[in-house]
């Protein structure tokens, strides 16, 4: 699939994904969890990646981090393709893009102090001077809103929100340019979510970060993203800037998703959900959404729709949208 590059006013993207495919072997057969995905993230931009469980959004994040090896396509970091690099060639580049995970507790070694956890990436990336490492760890811990005394303590001594601050500090200690956030606030209570989202906004502004923000929560993405990419079954079905996507969603799946989000306003009438056939996976050539689509036509069985541009920076993969 030759997708139009979605960048409009952003000449040099930090990272460009082209026709990326990630394949798992399922029961001896190849399953493309990410199936020909293309998009850019510009410097200083937050791209939101939304879709339901199993749509491939987390696999895509892990593939960009090169925790998984793509089976096809390119990942261009400042124009250099990292899709096929081996781990030793990747290491020096890794400091430029880091990841924040959903469950910070599962991703923090319980037997190491926070100080040691934050110092490790610096050692791995060759910061030789112990004094410099200590200074950078201290700086980052204060930057994410934790006291310096946190450095001597262990992960279990912190609440969920504080642990996510530690996870963010660990991602930031190498001074990366891009942070891939995979459901960073989904495990947190509402009152803590706001604290973490505000922190991520401050960090982006102060450090000039770019984010790829993966989430199933459309309300959070609407607030937090500059541009939004909607995935369904491994493919991008729509992408647009945040205002356009909510004002003028084109793909029937995007419309379904937006209509399904319950709004905290009892006066707002709810749109009835169309019934969802418990899908036998539609196979073969056609559009992967056709089994649930209210506007499916015979053509949708025959031909997978290509992404086409319907407005400035707005693409949709549907024959009829």
């Amino acid at each position: 699939m030759n997708d139009p590059a979605p960048s409009v006013d952003t000449p040099a993207p930090l990272i460009s994904i082209r026709d990326l495919r990630t394949t798992y072997a399922v029961g001896g057969r190849a399953f493309h969890a990410v199936d020909g995905v293309s998009f850019d993230v510009a410097r200083g931009e937050t791209v939101g990646l939304v879709g339901e469980s199993g749509c491939g959004k987390s696999t895509l994040g892990k593939t960009l981090m090169r925790l998984l090896r793509p089976s096809a396509g390119n990942i261009l970091l400042d124009g250099r393709d990292i899709a096929g690099l081996d781990q030793s060639a990747l290491l020096p580049l890794r400091r430029r893009f880091q990841m924040v995970f959903q469950d910070p507790f599962a991703s923090l070694n319980p037997r190491k102090t926070i100080g040691a956890l934050l110092e490790t990436p610096l050692k791995v990336h060759g910061v030789r001077s112990a004094a410099e490492r200590r200074a950078r760890v201290l700086e980052i811990v204060e930057r994410v809103g934790l006291p310096a005394s946190a450095l001597q303590r262990y992960p279990h001594e912190f609440s969920g929100g504080q642990r996510q601050r530690i996870g963010i500090a660990r991602a930031l200690v190498l001074r990366p340019e891009l942070i891939i956030c995979d459901e960073p606030v989904s495990a947190l209570d509402l009152s803590i979510q706001a604290q973490i989202l505000n922190l991520l906004v401050d960090l982006k502004r102060d450090l000039g970060l770019s984010y790829l923000f993966i989430s199933h929560d459309l309300s959070v993405v609407r607030y937090f993203a500059d541009r939004v990419i909607v995935m369904y079954r491994g493919r991008v079905v729509e992408s647009a800037d945040h205002a356009t996507l909510w004002r003028d969603p084109r793909h029937p799946y995007t419309r379904l998703l937006l209509a399904a989000v319950p709004v905290a306003d009892p006066g707002r009438p709810r749109e009835p959900m169309p019934p969802c056939p418990e899908a036998g996976e539609p196979s073969g050539q056609g559009c992967s959404f056709r089994a649930r689509c209210p506007m499916a036509q015979p053509r949708c069985d025959q031909e997978a729709p290509a992404r086409r541009t319907v407005g400035p920076g707005h693409t949709v993969a549907c024959h009829f949208a």
Binding site: S159, D189, L190, S191, Q195, N198, S219, F224, R270, E278
Partner: protein, 324 residues
């Protein structure tokens, strides 16, 4: 209270583990036929309360005191045999993860039939017929074939429909649904909650909906009770509650909710934060929210405030708000 007669009255219910109280004497009502939402963040005691209502507490937990009056009968004091006749029959339960509440090695039709055979004087043949009706009722296609399949053959949304079929099988007066859609995708969540709501009306049953999601409350509940650290902070009809939440915690939650701000974007609006965390409630003698509250007065630190009326059917446990 509501125009409908009261079905369930919870009074001064205290629940905890060992010697530690987790739920500190809460009270609320559920009227016949209504959806009452019990909301709060993780650890506030909402699920423990739900299990205590049916005396199905996890190991080590017990009811320290209080009353659960269901159609006038106190379930806290009732004999176990009476509870066994009520559970699954007059009151039933739907849990977050249906995979763990269904038996993985029995066909789902048989599991639904079991409930009917336990509570209704039905022959096996009648029960099997009723199972097919129930499966169609909850929107499971091809009930004949699906009844013979096992839980793992169903998707998450369909499994939750099976749980709903089982929960409504005996025509209960009250269904307690503990985070019934938290594990589901948002499009499936809307379908499952619409289904539960339709059955509530058609079968004239009440739903006690336990959730952390204020959007779900606004769209599917009639009334809401907000819990914080094992106490009721505020209760009221959803209209007045969302228009003008009175407890500073409830106001903070709605302010912190990105969904509520509608078209808010980080470039133009900062989210309202509730500072600190719920852990601070443990050491507090007074209002559990006082350590995080922007409006504390001296009275807040003396003893936990009582619920007092601030509008029709609308009550709040906050001396500052009550004085306004």
């Amino acid at each position: 209270m509501s125009p409908n007669p009261v079905l369930l009255q919870v009074r001064d219910l205290v629940v905890g583990f060992g010697k530690t109280e987790v739920v500190h004497g809460i009270g609320f009502d559920v009227a016949a036929g209504e959806t009452m939402a019990l909301v709060g963040e993780s650890g506030c005691g909402k699920s423990l309360t739900a299990f205590a209502l049916m005396r199905l507490l996890p190991h080590g937990a017990r009811i320290f005191g209080g009353q659960v009056l269901f159609q006038g009968r106190d379930l806290v004091a009732a004999r176990e045999k009476i509870l066994r006749d009520i559970r699954g029959n007059e009151i039933s339960l739907i849990l977050q993860e249906p995979m763990t509440s269904l038996n993985p090695v029995l066909p789902i039709g048989l599991q639904i039939a079991e409930v009917l055979l336990r509570h209704k004087s039905m022959s096996r043949r009648q029960a099997d017929r009723r199972v097919l009706e129930l499966l169609s009722l909850v929107g499971i296609p091809e009930p004949q074939r699906r009844a013979r399949e096992f839980p793992h053959n169903f998707s998450g949304g369909m499994r939750q429909r099976v749980m709903i079929a089982m929960a409504v099988a005996c025509g209960p007066r009250l269904v307690i649904a503990d985070e019934p859609t938290t594990a589901l995708d948002v499009t499936i969540q809307a379908q499952v909650l619409d289904l539960l709501d339709r059955l509530r009306k058609d079968l004239s049953m009440a739903v006690l909906l336990i959730t952390h999601d204020l959007g779900v409350v606004a769209q599917w509940a009639d009334r809401v009770t907000v819990m914080y650290a094992g106490r009721v902070a505020e209760e009221g009809p959803v209209g007045p509650f969302f228009r003008q939440p009175r407890h500073p915690y409830a106001r903070g939650l709605l302010g912190a909710s990105v969904g509520d701000s509608g078209s808010a974007h980080y470039t133009t609006q900062r989210l309202v934060e509730i500072p600190g965390s719920v852990a601070s409630a443990a050491a507090e003698r007074g209002c559990p929210f006082a350590p995080r509250c922007p409006e504390t007065i001296a009275a807040c630190r003396v003893q936990p405030p009582r619920l007092e009326p601030v509008g029709e059917m609308h009550r709040v446990a906050c001396p500052v708000e009550v004085a306004k």
